[in-house]
């Protein structure tokens, strides 16, 4: 049952002579939620962007749903269309209405008709509580609303997994929960998720495992209770004590 959806095998990446990722190995099983945390600059964003090939890597292998991401024959566009991604700064398309944001890739990549796509989009907007804003432009929405639209945009592609890169860190505090609520619900429905976040409450609630990174290395990779109960490494302990203070 616990077959892997995303698997990193000794992945290394360099920017010039600077090594950002150092032989990183970990996996996300189907239906599981893995939270990635660690200090700024430790390589979390880089790691998660390797999953859908937004960042190339030089060594190792990443297998997504039995397909090797870096391999020559892999159709990256097709693979990406099956993996939803949510960014820190939302990255909605500002020149398109909310519905158009959700429709674009459904029509252009999946080949759905505009009616089919709109039906799907409206259902998802309703699900994230934004059906009333379907005709608005991203600039007319609050940060929390924009991020919920971004999640809906990812879901519109019927993804096999969702990637989140600090989805709440650009939000005002009072908007964080409306986004986390959507993510918790998604996790509870069994979506496979890889989430870079410092929201430890979210991690405790839904994560199956927590991965701690420092300096491009995966320092700790443990079941959630284990990670919060007794982190093995000093670095993770230090990080946790700092982050749990506030």
């Amino acid at each position: 049952m616990n077959s892997s959806m995303i698997e990193f095998r000794a992945v290394s990446k360099w920017y010039g002579s600077f090594q950002v990722l150092k032989r990183c190995s970990t996996r996300v099983d189907k239906g599981q939620v893995v939270v990635v945390c660690g200090p700024s600059g430790s390589g979390k964003s880089t790691l998660i962007k390797c999953v859908n090939g937004l960042e190339p890597f030089q060594e190792g292998e990443i297998i997504v749903n039995a397909e090797s991401v870096g391999a020559k024959g892999t159709n990256l566009s097709r693979l990406r269309s099956k993996i939803g991604m949510v960014f820190q700064h939302f990255e909605l398309f500002p020149h398109m209405s909310v519905t158009e944001n959700l429709n674009l890739a459904q029509v252009k990549v999946l080949g759905r008709s505009r009616e089919e796509a709109t039906t799907k989009s409206m259902a998802l907007l309703k699900r994230v509580g934004l059906e009333a804003h379907a005709k608005k432009y991203p600039g007319e929405l609050s940060g929390g609303q924009q991020q919920r639209v971004a999640i809906a945009r990812g879901l519109a592609m019927d993804p096999i997994a969702m990637l989140f890169d600090e989805p709440t860190s650009a939000l005002d505090p009072e908007m964080i929960n409306e986004v986390l609520d959507v993510m918790v619900e998604l996790a509870q429905e069994g979506m496979t998720m890889m989430v870079v976040t410092h929201e430890m409450g979210f991690a405790r609630k839904v994560a199956h495992r927590v991965v701690f990174m420092d300096n491009g290395e995966i320092v700790e990779d443990a079941a959630t209770e284990e990670f919060f109960g007794s982190p093995r490494s000093d670095r993770a302990q230090l990080f946790l004590s700092k982050i749990l203070q506030h």
Binding site: R78, R80, I83, F87, E91, F93, A105, K108, V109
Partner: protein, 230 residues
């Protein structure tokens, strides 16, 4: 004070000046603008390409065009285009292109270099995350460019593109070197025929000024309206 001048010549030649001359000027401007923006955008995409030969070729083209005097380019193309055209279609002799189409091709090629630099700045002004978002949804390069990046770049750069078009509108008067009958050319013909140089050239200058000034004012209004939207 104006004795000895005959401003009636203007009124008499208005139909010719506008129906022939101005039509040529406006059509040339619009065609060269459209062609120049399309070609310039392709050049901009090539310049920004990570594939070195593309950026090298596009960069050299832009730099070459921008370091040549326009008059020279118009002159050369007028003589070269028939030969190049003949060579392309495989005709044994140079093909007759005519002053108008020669001018359209010349201005398209020349202005593309300037539109390229504008569109390049426009593309670079779009946050890199937008490309990532497009790609993450499975859009390929052309889809990401066509649906996500270029519409935003174009919109951000619209005032600058229009300003460049006003310059193009004025520059089209240089087609006099190939004896084309644009607005200035038409006026020059009347001026020489009737010995009314002062009257005609004053009138031509006034018309260019009014049109360019009105368009500039329009661009300014557009700019301030865009600033409010953002």
């Amino acid at each position: 004070m104006f004795s000895g001048y005959d401003f009636d010549v203007i009124q008499r030649s208005l139909p010719y000046l506008f129906r022939d001359g101005m039509t040529f000027t406006v059509t040339l401007t619009l065609l060269a603008m459209t062609g120049g923006i399309v070609f310039g955008t392709l050049l901009a995409m090539m310049r920004l390409s990570s594939f070195a030969p593309f950026s090298l070729v596009a960069g050299s083209y832009v730099n070459l065009m921008r370091s040549l005097p326009l008059v020279l380019v118009i002159f050369w193309f007028f003589f070269l285009v028939p030969y190049i055209g003949g060579w392309i279609v495989g005709a044994p002799r140079p093909i007759a292109v005519g002053a108008f189409w020669s001018a359209v091709i010349t201005f398209t090629m020349f202005e593309a270099a300037y539109y390229c630099e504008i569109m390049r700045a426009g593309i670079q002004s779009i946050p890199r995350g937008q490309v990532a978002a497009g790609q993450a949804l499975g859009l390929n390069y052309w889809q990401t460019m066509g649906h996500v990046i270029l519409p935003q770049a174009f919109r951000n750069m619209l005032p600058v593109l229009l300003t460049q078009t006003i310059i193009l509108f004025q520059d089209t008067s240089l087609v006099y070197v190939i004896s084309a009958t644009d607005f200035l050319g038409a006026a020059a013909k009347i001026a020489n025929r009737d010995y009314r140089l002062v009257e005609m050239y004053t009138f031509v200058a006034a018309v260019y000024f009014v049109i360019s000034f009105a368009l500039s004012a329009l661009v300014k209004r557009l700019q301030s309206r865009m600033a409010i939207v953002q």
